[in-house]
């Protein structure tokens, strides 16, 4: 059994002594889980290639290091090159690579006095150093080579020590604080929405009768399930794009995308702001909780249609359910539409109040679909996004 160091500060999050014991038990099992070692041949060949390449070859690809087969082939190639070099100009030979067939241990690894004294095992470490804390929440941006950030004053002690740790309540909010909530608005339609008929490859002037056999479905181009279980890091831009793709939006690099991640006592929450720049769409706001998925949908009105603020809206799939209220007209009685993309925009709808019809600008989802039964034509259908 390995020495197990429990973090007392975690107990502040537990609701009972039983829960503390349960978590300790799991942590202890985790500690006792066997370590995995690589094969010694891989370890040695990587070391040899790594240092040799750094000194002589400067070949920067991992495949060369990784497989013994590749390493051997690379060594053979080096041999050929060296042999040619020897015959053409013996003075240019690096004596360290004249025998690449075997991988002699590097002297420095064997005799460096610092190495023999180096013991970094945490169990034996009496580290009282104050390490500056970095309190910048992760934004998912991956820097291949991490740069060291500037140190800040931090008087919090070793988190493993119960004497000086910072109470977790101080650093973690109980609930998320979404930006949209600070200026949340709501509105109610004063009247009944009248959805316009859909004309596909015909016009209203032609006076035809509605198609009787119309099928349609909403199948956004889903890529992965964005639950944060695997794949992209929750809160990263790549993750947000996947989330939006799953909802039917087609985010591109040029689009506006802002992400606000918050660790709370109830888990990780993310607020995503997205605007499709190509179609001058509205700003969509998604509230997401890790493990639960999307909690709410909003759009931001800048005062164009309503008072500036954030208004709750339907999800695209919920809004699409209104398609059942549409009347469809087409060149044939049988039509089959498949909708895969959506944008959030304004659209003029007709509203009826006390027998009077009037136009009103509302946030709407524009669904882009294709007729799949006849000629594969494209069709746009606007449905209200309002709740």
């Amino acid at each position: 059994m390995r020495q197990f160091e429990w973090d007392k500060s975690l107990e502040e999050l537990c609701s009972s002594e039983q829960e503390v014991q349960d978590l300790k038990e799991v942590a202890s099992m985790f500690c006792d889980m066997q370590k995995t070692e690589s094969s010694s041949s891989f370890r040695d060949s990587l070391k040899n290639n790594l240092l040799k390449n750094e000194k002589v070859l400067k070949i920067p690809r991992r495949k060369l290091f990784t497989r013994p087969l590749f390493a051997t082939a690379a060594a053979a190639a080096v041999l050929v090159i060296i042999a040619l070099s020897v015959f053409s100009n013996p003075r240019q030979i690096d004596p360290k690579i004249t025998s690449p067939g075997d991988y002699p241990p590097l002297e420095i690894a064997q005799v460096d006095p610092l190495v023999s004294e180096l013991d970094l095992t945490p169990g034996g470490e009496e580290d009282t150093n104050e390490q500056p804390n970095v309190d910048v929440p992760g934004n998912g941006k991956i820097d291949p080579v991490p740069e060291v950030s500037k140190p800040k004053d931090n008087t919090s002690g070793d988190p493993g020590s119960s004497a000086t740790h910072t109470p977790i309540e101080d650093s973690l909010k109980e609930e998320p604080e979404f930006e949209a909530w600070r200026n949340e608005k709501s509105f109610k339609l004063a009247g009944n929405l009248l959805l316009s008929p859909v004309y596909y490859n015909v016009t209203a002037e032609e006076g035809i009768t509605p198609s009787q056999n119309v099928n349609y479905n909403w199948k956004p181009s889903k890529t992965v399930v964005a639950t944060g279980v695997a794949g992209e890091t929750v809160g990263s831009k790549a993750w947000a794009r996947e989330l939006l793709l799953n909802e039917g939006f087609m985010p591109s690099e040029a689009d506006y995308l802002r992400i606000n991640s918050q660790e709370t006592q109830k888990g990780l929450f993310v607020e995503v702001f997205y605007r499709d720049l190509k179609s001058s769409g509205l700003t969509l706001v998604l509230h997401f909780q890790e493990g639960k998925g999307i909690l709410a949908y909003y759009y931001e009105d800048m005062g164009e249609a309503k008072e500036a603020g954030f208004y709750p809206i339907l999800s695209p799939s919920k809004a699409f359910e209104q398609a059942k209220n549409l009347e469809w007209f087409g060149p044939t009685q049988r039509l089959n539409f498949s909708f895969q993309e959506v944008t959030l925009t304004y659209h003029l709808f007709t509203i009826e109040e006390n027998g009077v019809e009037k136009s009103i600008k509302l946030p709407a989802y524009c669904f882009l679909g294709m007729e799949t039964f006849n000629n594969g034509g494209v069709l746009k259908v606007y449905l209200p996004a309002v709740k």
């Binding site: 349960d22 099992m29 500690c31 991992r62 945490p122 970095v134 929440p137 080579v145 800040k152 070793d158």
Partner: protein, 186 residues
């Protein structure tokens, strides 16, 4: 503190002379391999990512500045980035049956050894169901023995967030294991 100074000296040497990277490699290779292996659970992929990690560390060691983080934190951050990049690049990795070469734990009886094997498999399965950050936090804390403040630097989160990740990770793990064979075995 003395240990840090020694390591600092070794790192400084490696920054001036790549030959001196060898002791750092020798010391950190098993740790980085173990961390990456448990994140991807595939031997070949782990070897690729370990190679990439050390190559990047060696090529960029001159950029490393000894300010607020240890060399270990820096190295684990590179390793973690390799893992994240890998998940971005490709579909879920095929898990391996070989489970690498495991070091033998200290067990007292055959029953205990069986329990240890069952538990490890179950934990590995359960780990896969956790979020990427939770996996990192648990592995770095309880398998790699990093302190919470060090994990915070690797994950680029504050200590409170790391504690929350550990708490929720352990809780989820407990829940997953409760449904498995572990409790029957116990």
């Amino acid at each position: 503190m003395l240990i840090d100074e020694r390591e600092q000296e070794i790192v400084s040497r490696a920054q001036n002379n790549p030959d001196s990277f060898a002791p750092l490699y020798d010391h950190y290779f098993p740790k980085i391999y173990n961390y990456i292996y448990h994140r991807v659970q595939n031997t070949q992929l782990a070897e690729d990512l370990v190679s990439e990690t050390f190559y990047k560390a060696l090529s960029n060691i001159k950029k490393f500045q000894w300010q607020d983080r240890t060399f270990a934190c820096w190295l684990y951050t590179i390793a973690r980035n390799q893992v994240i990049d890998q998940f971005r690049r490709q579909k879920p990795v095929l898990l391996d049956d070989s489970k690498g070469e495991m070091t033998e734990p200290e067990v007292n009886s055959p029953e205990e050894k069986v329990l240890m094997d069952i538990t490890r498999d179950e934990i590995l399965e359960a780990i896969k169901t956790l979020s990427s950050d939770q996996q990192d936090a648990l592995l770095l804390r309880f398998h790699e023995d990093l302190k919470i403040k060090e994990i915070a630097l690797v994950l680029n989160k504050n200590e409170g967030a790391v504690k929350a990740l550990l708490f929720r990770g352990l809780k989820s793990l407990r829940k997953k294991l409760e449904g498995g064979d572990y409790h029957e075995a116990v």
